[in-house]
Symmetry: C2
Subunit: 157 residues, 2 copies
DNA sequence: TATTGTTATACTCTATAACTATA
DNA sequence: TATAGTTATAGAGTATAACAATA
């Protein structure tokens, strides 16, 4: 006998091991994500970048000239939440919002030269952050984890 | 040539595949966790339970008589954030906060009979929710994911 | 009519500080 | 002094509704 019920607290109901809170993947996803989030905030504190704003910069860097609506789509954000963040990044001299040539509704996004110059350093900091909170996982386990997480939230594969 | 740079957008900088946003585990953790969170909210909408409040109820159910401070510790919450949630659950007739026999500072937590009766149904709803957002993962993959997530945020193992 | 982007607003979750009561 | 619990408050992140400009 080595299952949950054998070690249950006195007075605890018969909760099958599968139904226990710490056996739920959603719960463990949330705990792991929260830890990663706070570690990210510490590592990128000097750059004043949060996961969301870093994600915006990284994608604009990877796809210069991307439209705001497309950035929202790729990041799973609402444009209502994106707008003030973009305004802030523009104020900080990191992002440029230009008018689209053909469609006057569209805002086209690029990094400023300053942001382009800083980006490699920030990517390195993120690499350090990932190596830290994933230190107990081997390279192979990290690849597996990446694949499984993508199976959860993306439509591809 | 099948790596990131071969398919890079025109004008995009040389971002190694490892540094791309969608190769970051932290980013994918956040996306997967957000999806699970919103799916949870839909499934448990009728019970008016969110992941945090469900977690509190589940642990009190599994460890009747647990102290509030211990519940905070196990869930990684601040007592300042726990207090109003416990007050709300008590108001809704789901949780009882009793004085500890020896230590007058301590509040001892149990589920009300109503909550104990409802709990199996809620656990079943959570099981449905997990089966839904994890539908593309096999049982073996789910077990692997659980193990890897625990490696990230727990000290055990 | 539909799309792009913006503002205003509300809710959840987390964080810190200050406080009371008790050990 | 330290711990348990509470209140107040602020900051992220996400959600909806309403709107203007353009397609």
């Amino acid at each position: 006998m080595d299952d949950k019920e054998a070690h249950a607290a006195p007075g605890a109901p018969d909760v099958s091991a599968k139904d226990a809170l710490d056996a739920q993947i959603g719960y463990n996803l949330r705990r792991a994500s929260t830890l990663a989030l706070s570690d990210f905030a510490v590592e990128l504190a000097d750059a004043a970048l949060r996961p969301v704003t870093y994600g915006m910069l990284a994608l604009i860097d990877e796809q210069p000239g991307i439209r705001a609506a497309e950035l929202c789509r790729q990041l799973g954000m609402k444009s209502a939440n994106m707008a003030p963040l973009l305004a802030d990044l523009e104020e900080r001299g990191l992002v440029e919002r230009d008018d689209h040539a053909d469609d006057k509704r569209v805002r086209v996004l690029t990094l400023t030269p300053a942001a382009r110059k800083a980006m490699p350093g920030w990517r390195q900091q993120v690499r350090r952050h990932e190596d830290r909170f994933l230190q107990r996982l081997t390279a192979k386990e990290r690849a597996t984890l990446l694949r499984l997480l993508r199976l959860i939230w993306t439509d591809e594969d």
